[in-house]
Amino acid sequence: MNTLLAILWKDLVSEWRSRDRVVAMALFSFLVVVVLHFALPGADPAEVRRVAPGLLWVAYVFAALLGLNRAFALELENDALSALAMAPADRGFVFLGKAAANFVLLAVVQFATAVVFGLAFALDLVPVAVPLAGVVALGSLGICSVGTLFSAVAVRTRYREVMLPLLILPLLVPVLLGAVSATASLLQGERVPFASIQLLVVTDAVFLIVSFLGFEYVLDE
């Protein structure tokens, strides 16, 4: 548990001092929102409302990929990955610390993106803000768990920026389907279907267990 908090604290402090990752992710996802706006020229409000959940999650996934690609960059540059591997701590908790840091950074970016997204597509997200935050948190948990695991893998390969999306996008389909369907219900003013929450929770649990156990094997000494 101390390992988790120590790593989370270290990542957040170093990010707070430089603020480069969050700024890059946020700017990138704002740009995605702008590009998506131009991808739907002349769409009427009802049409926008129908496709908005998917578009929002496209922006979120792109931002997450950008951030996750840098999740182990600092460790790699300073040769600290081996130190992490050799630390007298359970690697599962090292993983949880890194994943928690990614989750926090992504949450900040997601909040800012939602504001920009609401303005760009003239959607009033304020009334559904609380349940939407819950759905986004469940989706991000799944993205950050396999994302952190395979970021540690991708960073040790050639073409690492390309490798990460190729590895995790096919795995993220259940997360995206659950998150998009739950978001769609919220934007339509309906109750979130139990099936999509169930799907998100089960997927998060499976991904967290696989990543927690798998992280043992992806760090080199």
Binding site: T157, P170, L177, T203, Y217
Partner: protein
């Protein structure tokens, strides 16, 4: 010839299976071709229905390959024996080959019977996603330096790829609802005279899968032995 290379169960099994599966493949392929030629024409679909004798059998082999990839990877992580990694790697490569053929034969049949090449239906989407996962698996292996590291990374990814299948199944079932692809899990869904060619097709594909798999494992084992010999030779060359 290569019997002395390794004493692991994987290599022994591969050696034992090589010749029998080769012979069986030749015999079965002949019988299967004859059976398919003589099978009755489907009264509704016509000749295109004969893809039935190829398409699902290819899928059986592809799924077998992906299951073996995860099992081999898990055993490698557990036991640390490289032979299990050879099994995982060979299964992934052969599985991708069969999966590609499934994805090629499926749309041909779909165009003929459903009137369109593709439908985002449960089975089709899951198979397509599996194909992406295992192509990424092979890319990961070739982009990772160091065979031991590549084996570890790939094993973890192969296991994650298997774990995601039931999740995908549940997710796509929820999203897509009823599917176009037939279930055909119940007995007696094949017409009269179609059972034998289908069973032979399944046999041919599984035997062909095994034959390719053991050949691929053998190549990997020989490669490993060569690397060891080069490294161990006096004044031997550094292996790049």
């Amino acid at each position: 010839m290569s019997a002395s290379l390794s004493n692991s169960a994987v290599d022994r099994a591969a050696n034992a299976l090589r010749l029998p599966t080769g012979i069986l493949l030749a015999v079965l392929t002949g019988a299967w071709l004859a059976a398919v030629a003589r099978a009755p024409l489907d009264s509704v679909q016509g000749v295109i229905q004969k893809i039935l004798y190829v398409h699902p059998p290819l899928a059986f082999a592809a799924y077998a390959g992906f299951a073996l990839t995860a099992i081999g990877g898990a055993l490698f992580l557990w036991r640390g024996d490289e032979a299990w990694d050879r099994l995982a790697r060979a299964s992934a490569e052969v599985g991708v080959l069969f999966c590609t053929l499934v994805i090629v034969t499926g749309p041909i049949w779909a165009k003929g019977t459903w009137g369109r090449w593709w439908s985002w239906d449960l089975r089709l989407t899951i198979t397509l996603l599996l194909w992406f996962v295992y192509l990424a698996y092979l890319l990961l292996r070739s982009f990772t330096e160091g065979s031991e590291r590549a084996a570890r990374f790939a094993a973890v990814y192969g296991i994650a790829g298997l774990a995601v299948i039931p999740l995908n199944y549940f997710a796509l079932d929820m999203a897509a609802g009823r599917s176009m692809h037939p279930e055909n899990l119940q007995q007696g869904s094949l017409g009269a005279g179609m059972g034998w060619p289908f069973a032979l097709g399944a046999g041919v594909c599984l035997v062909a899968f095994t034959q390719l798999l053991v050949r691929r494992i053998e190549i990997e084992a020989l490669r490993g032995a060569l690397a060891e010999r080069v490294a161990g030779a006096p004044g031997g060359l550094e292996r790049s």
